[in-house]
């Protein structure tokens, strides 16, 4: 099913708690492609409303809340936001077999129907969301209240990601990034030479695009911010725009971003002038917003 979906326009790969997706897609129409270990899945979203949850690992397919529960069992997941045009979205609805009229609370547990099917002697848990046409199959005599948790089938899917061993709590992120913010960050990430870009605050990483270990990078970024905080009160040079640290391997850039901060990791060959212009524009926009 994943392969049949329209490609859409990628905003960029990022890592965040699953809850982040639901709180930051209010104006988003498209698919969130999710990769967890060797499996992949997606959430079809229309303006903050999740319509379809799907995950596939080998021959195991999870749909509806079974897929959502699996996503939520990971403190951090890696995903790609891909915007759809209205035509692409209609096509995606057809592929996912979703009725045109979508109930308001498509994702709520109390409106979910559970069906257990048997296929090729392999147990398969299929959870059906309202609004999704069900395949014409004979339901099994027993309908469990909840699908069996994946943890009880370790041979099928490894539930515990390495991140589960850490003590990071699964909490909704208090910091809010709007859709335009994600677009801006995505556009910066797409520039030649950008390895990773993170939006972070004093406590945590809010958004990461790029394949890096975030904690060591944030440690460096926070050290750099501490330096700028020490020197800024002693300089009458206007507001802080960015600090760039160049080492033989590349550049680390920290800059203010609304009430948060940006950390950008680049290759050595980056066009620093281009990045600088972007950061200055962001800074000017911020100053204007403060004045308004």
């Amino acid at each position: 099913m994943i392969d049949q979906l329209p490609e859409g326009k990628s905003i960029g790969w990022m890592q965040a708690p699953p809850q982040w997706i639901f709180t930051h897609t209010v104006r988003f129409v498209g698919v969130v492609r999710i990769v967890i270990q060797d499996g992949e899945g997606f959430i079809l979203i229309k303006k903050g409303k999740p319509l379809v949850y799907y995950f596939k690992h080998g021959r195991i397919e999870l749909r509806g809340h079974a897929a959502l529960d699996y996503f939520n069992s990971h403190p951090i997941i890696e995903f790609n936001l891909c915007k759809f045009t209205p035509e692409e979205f209609s096509q995606a609805l057809k592929i996912c077999n979703v009725d045109e009229v979508i109930p308001e609370s498509a994702g709520r547990q109390d409106q979910v129907t559970h069906v257990v099917t048997q296929e090729k002697a392999e147990d398969k848990t299929v959870e059906v969301q309202p609004g999704i046409k069900q395949p014409e199959r004979e339901p099994a005599p027993v309908q469990p209240e909840k699908p069996e948790p994946l943890a009880e089938k370790p041979e099928l899917i490894r539930v515990k990601s390495p991140a589960d061993n850490t003590e990071r709590p699964l909490v909704p992120q208090p910091a809010v990034l709007e859709d335009p913010d994600i677009k801006i960050i995505g556009q910066i990430k797409k520039l030649n030479g950008i390895v990773a870009i993170s939006v972070f605050d004093d406590d945590r990483n809010i958004l990461l695009m790029g394949d890096v270990e975030i904690e060591p990078l944030l440690k460096v970024a926070r050290t750099m911010l501490a330096t700028t905080n020490k020197i800024t009160p002693h300089l009458d040079w206007g507001s802080f725009v960015h600090m760039t640290l160049q080492i033989p391997e590349g550049n680390v850039i920290v800059a203010p971003y609304h009430e948060n901060h940006l950390c950008i990791l680049t290759t050595r060959t980056i066009n620093i002038g281009h990045i600088r212009r972007i950061l200055r524009d962001l800074q000017q926009e911020r100053t204007q917003n403060i004045l308004l």
């Binding site: 050290t223 750099m224 206007g238 760039t244």
Partner: protein, 115 residues
Amino acid sequence: MLKQILNKFLILHDVQAAIVIQENGEIIQSMKSGIMIKEELQEVIATIMLDSKKTAAQFGNASLSMVFVEFSDHFLILGPVMEEFYLVVIAKNTANIGQITYEMKKNQDAIVSLL
């Protein structure tokens, strides 16, 4: 002689100061135009030098190539010349960074030979 080299930076558009400074904040030589290098600014530069060196070391003991700190009106570029000596250029934000960094690299050996 060092003054002559530093003057090459000062003639660049909107560059206000070129300084050779030691890690402890002691100025070896400087050329400036339209800017006062007070003790406070020396301390700021020393903070950037020491902090950045430590920060770069967090990347597997990487050496520091350059530090660039920009504010809305001015920016500062700092590059190590040798051991504890650094070259610092302060400019208005309208200055050409590419030109400044090019001159920094071009004149590094000449500065080292005079230290």
